[in-house]
């Protein structure tokens, strides 16, 4: 029973987090992007556009309520686990469709309002930025050494305490604090946690590098200010990658201590130590992620940085909507860029109009599918 509740609470939290992020996403976009469509900055408060946002809010809320009602119903009537995951995927698909509708609506408004017809369409770049962005703009890569040391230390614990292990080692606990997974004693157990640690280290280091590689994107009417914002944005998120990988490694190190029975708990405290502690850690990671998202905004658009030139120019950023299929996929054969800022949400995506981008996208999908086999 308690496991059923645990499972339910866990999936319910994921739904709430996704819903919350869906709601704030439109507010995170750059000032000149609205539901993935480029608009003149000063039209942002246009009443037609506001309506798109309201219907987006309403549709998202309805979907969220419907899905949570279904999972509550399932929870009260059946014992379920795989159903939750399927519902979660279905929910993600629904949020995508809602976004796509809002994207199309915004596109139609842009056409009927005839924005982008009289003004110039400018792309502004800074010739110095590309050199700075992958080195000086990010926090030092040496911080990843902390994680490397933690992995080595985890190995050390494994080798040191291996002999003391019983023949059958508990490796997994349920929500009640009861052991529900065992491993037969074998050297495999030494690599169980470091395997995950190395995986996360590679993953986060790659994400860190991508932050440096991402294409520079400046606001035409205020290039200097938007460059500073973008630099700060990259700095903060590269710092988050270091923070996240360090926390995850710490957690896995801690689990390793428990598996090797270096730390042992009484029956009473085991729930706190095995359940509450890891969950708190993950909650902190999610909370910091959401807080930083709101603080920085996409590309640093929400950061407060002093205006350097307040001359409202008659220039408009280049209308590049045609390269954004469904407002999600960037397909531009001419552009040699590999990583480009997403139009909706936070972070970067790949250019699917070029072989490197396609290979990367396919590679990531294959990797996700193969991951369970690689790590087992």
């Amino acid at each position: 029973m308690i496991n059923d509740i645990g499972n339910f609470i866990y999936i319910f939290c994921i739904f709430v987090i996704i819903f919350a992020f869906q709601i704030i996403k439109p507010k995170l976009a750059r000032k000149e992007i609205y539901f993935g469509i480029r608009i003149p900055e000063n039209e942002r408060n246009n009443t037609f556009l506001k309506k798109v946002y309201y219907s987006y809010l309403i549709l998202n809320t309805i979907t969220f309520v419907v899905f949570t009602t279904i999972i509550i119903y399932i929870f009260l009537n059946y014992y379920a686990s795989i159903e939750y995951t399927l519902l979660l995927l279905l929910y993600l698909l629904c949020t995508l469709i809602i976004y796509f509708f809002s994207n199309r609506k915004t596109f139609k408004i842009k056409q009927t309002q005839c924005w982008n017809t009289e003004k110039k369409q400018i792309v502004a770049i800074d010739t110095k930025f590309s050199k700075e962005k992958s080195t000086k703009t990010l926090v030092s890569p040496w911080w990843f050494l902390v994680s490397v040391f933690m992995i080595l230390f985890t190995f050390h614990i494994g080798f040191k305490y291996y002999d003391l292990l019983p023949e059958i080692v508990p490796t997994h606990w349920d929500f009640a604090g009861e052991v529900n997974g065992y491993m037969r004693k074998s050297p495999k157990i030494i690599y169980a946690m470091p395997k995950f640690q190395i995986f996360f280290l590679i993953l986060f280091f790659t994400l860190y590098k991508i932050i440096g590689w991402g294409k520079q994107q400046l606001n035409t009417s205020n290039p200097h200010q938007s460059k500073e914002k973008n630099k700060r944005f990259r700095y903060i998120w590269s710092g988050y990658m270091v923070f996240a990988v360090t926390m995850i490694n710490l957690l896995l190190f801690y689990i390793n201590l428990i598996i090797f029975q270096v730390v042992q708990f009484s029956d009473k405290s085991i729930i706190i130590m095995i359940l509450i502690l890891p969950i708190t850690l993950i909650a902190i990671l999610v909370a910091v992620f959401l807080a930083l998202s709101i603080y920085t905004g996409q590309g640093g658009s929400r950061l407060k940085i002093k205006d350097t030139e307040a001359t409202p120019s008659k220039m408009l950023d280049r209308n590049d909507d045609k390269y954004w299929r469904f407002g999600i996929f960037y397909i531009n054969k001419e552009d040699p860029t590999i990583f480009i800022e997403k139009r909706f949400g936070l972070g970067w995506t790949v250019n699917l109009g070029r072989p490197p981008g396609i290979i990367l996208a396919v590679g990531v999908i294959v990797l996700i599918l193969l991951l369970p086999y690689i790590l087992n």
């Binding site: 792309v123 800074d126 294409k215 035409t220 001419e334």
Partner: protein
């Protein structure tokens, strides 16, 4: 320096890019010895084909504004050697045409010289 490319302009992108780099050198926004992004990097930043940037860089190189080093990329060269007899000819030809058109449209000599002075001033006051 900040480069702005207009995608709706009638002037081809490689010409716009070339002009902006030359003006950047004239205004002192690009200093001698400063390096420009590589062809690939510049194409990525603007979001255009690498051939376009290559064309610009080749013309700038032929004009003596930049030198292309395999390791360091494109570097702004010393502007002392830019004044050639060839350029004198070219300038005369182009001015002839520009003044001719201005004359047709009714610009007076004084007005034209005034404009030229103002233009020169913004480059010498760097």
């Amino acid at each position: 320096m900040i480069i702005k490319i207009d995608f709706e302009s009638e002037a081809p992108i490689y010409v716009q890019l070339k002009r902006q780099i030359i003006l950047g050198i004239a205004k002192g926004e690009l200093l001698q010895g400063e390096s420009l992004p590589s062809v690939r990097q510049m194409a990525e930043d603007i979001g255009i084909n690498m051939h376009t940037v290559n064309k610009t860089y080749n013309e700038l190189k032929a004009g003596g504004f930049i030198s292309v080093d395999r390791r360091k990329g494109a570097i702004v060269t010393n502007s002392n050697n830019l004044l050639t007899d060839e350029y004198h000819e070219e300038l005369k030809d182009e001015l002839d045409f520009i003044i001719g058109e201005a004359y047709c449209r009714g610009i007076t000599e004084e007005e034209f010289i005034k404009l030229s002075r103002a233009a020169f001033k913004q480059y010498s006051n760097k």
